[in-house]
């Protein structure tokens, strides 16, 4: 399925993602890493650690509603994967991101901007394996 090339909206959205990440560092001294935040919610260390993560996640979840209020339409969201693929992919994402200490936000945005060598290796690795996976699924197995 074709999707429209949206360089301006994507760049603008990227600026906001960056701003949110910087504010979390400035205010709470924390890395905006979705894996760490989710993991901290699932296995909380104490009440305070649980509380700020809950507030942060609630704020994130309010975003589509705010967009709907402002534009009259929910953000575009088309899921090509079947429910089985969503579950298999989700478990592998959870296992891998937890083992590799981060995902697109933690290693990708925050790690690269810190010039972390670990994050450069992580991002290069997951971009390559994601591209190979999509190639195999679409062009070899033809799902």
């Amino acid at each position: 399925m074709e999707t429209a090339f949206t360089p301006i909206a994507s760049f603008g959205g990227g600026l906001a993602i960056g701003l949110g990440s910087v504010l979390l560092m400035l205010g709470l001294g924390r890395i905006m890493g979705a894996t760490g935040i989710l993991s901290g919610l699932a296995f909380p260390e104490n009440r305070e650690e649980f509380a700020w993560r809950t507030a942060l996640v609630l704020g994130m979840m309010l975003a589509p509603g705010l967009i709907y209020a402002a534009t009259g339409a929910m953000p575009e969201l088309t899921v090509p994967a079947s429910p089985t693929m969503i579950v298999i992919g989700g478990v592998i994402v959870g296992l891998g991101a937890s083992l590799g200490s981060g995902c697109t936000s933690g290693h990708g945005v925050c790690g690269l901007s810190r010039l972390s060598v670990r994050s450069f290796v992580a991002v290069l690795t997951f971009m390559v394996t994601a591209a190979i996976t999509v190639f195999l699924i679409r062009h070899v197995f033809g799902v």
């Binding site: 074709e2 999707t3 909206a9 994507s10 959205g13 990227g14 906001a16 993602i17 949110g20 910087v22 979390l24 560092m25 001294g29 890395i31 905006m32 979705a34 760490g36 935040i37 993560r53 507030a55 994130m60 975003a63 589509p64 967009i67 929910m74 953000p75 575009e76 969201l77 088309t78 899921v79 994967a81 969503i86 992919g89 989700g90 592998i92 994402v93 959870g94 296992l95 891998g96 991101a97 590799g100 200490s101 697109t104 936000s105 290693h107 925050c110 790690g111 901007s113 810190r114 670990r118 290796v121 690795t125 971009m127 390559v128 394996t129 994601a130 190979i132 996976t133 699924i137 062009h139």
Partner: protein, 142 residues
């Protein structure tokens, strides 16, 4: 106040995820489908985000502590080991299969779509699996 700030921060991040197209698995998968229906938009997301964080982080770190107290908790690990590479390789495979990553799925849950909830439950199961398979604590994010 700290929690209101965290909520506001999450909202900005979430709006960015929604506007950028990261929330749309069709768009994310097309970014990786160079041999097919390639959509390079997501490179612009990363470009915009890195531009702000690269300079913003350095401005933030001019402070001695975070605004709401406490030190800046910056990952100190430097070892490029099997866990980092193997975990990241797995993460990419899962991302390529499902089309969602955790940072996109959390805001996407606000659309009320069941596919997003299903994905996040599976991610949590993956966290549990990691704890069962690899008991030793893993370095925290990034």
């Amino acid at each position: 106040m700290k929690l209101v700030f965290a909520l506001f921060t999450g909202l900005i991040f979430g709006v960015g995820i929604a506007v950028s197209g990261m929330m749309d698995p069709a768009k994310v998968l097309n970014f990786f489908d160079i041999a097919g229906t390639w959509d390079p938009s997501l490179a612009f997301v990363m470009g915009g985000a890195l531009l702000v964080t690269f300079f913003g982080y350095r401005l933030a770190w001019r402070q001695t502590t975070a605004l709401f107290g406490g030190r800046f908790q910056i990952p100190s690990a430097t070892a490029v080991d099997k866990r980092l590479v193997g975990g990241s390789a797995l993460f990419g495979i899962g991302w390529g299969i499902a089309g969602f990553c955790p940072g996109a799925a959390i805001p996407a849950l606000g659309t009320g779509r069941w596919e997003v909830a299903l994905f996040l439950v599976a991610v949590l199961a993956g966290f549990v699996l990691r704890r069962l398979l690899f008991a030793r604590p893993v370095q925290s994010a990034a």
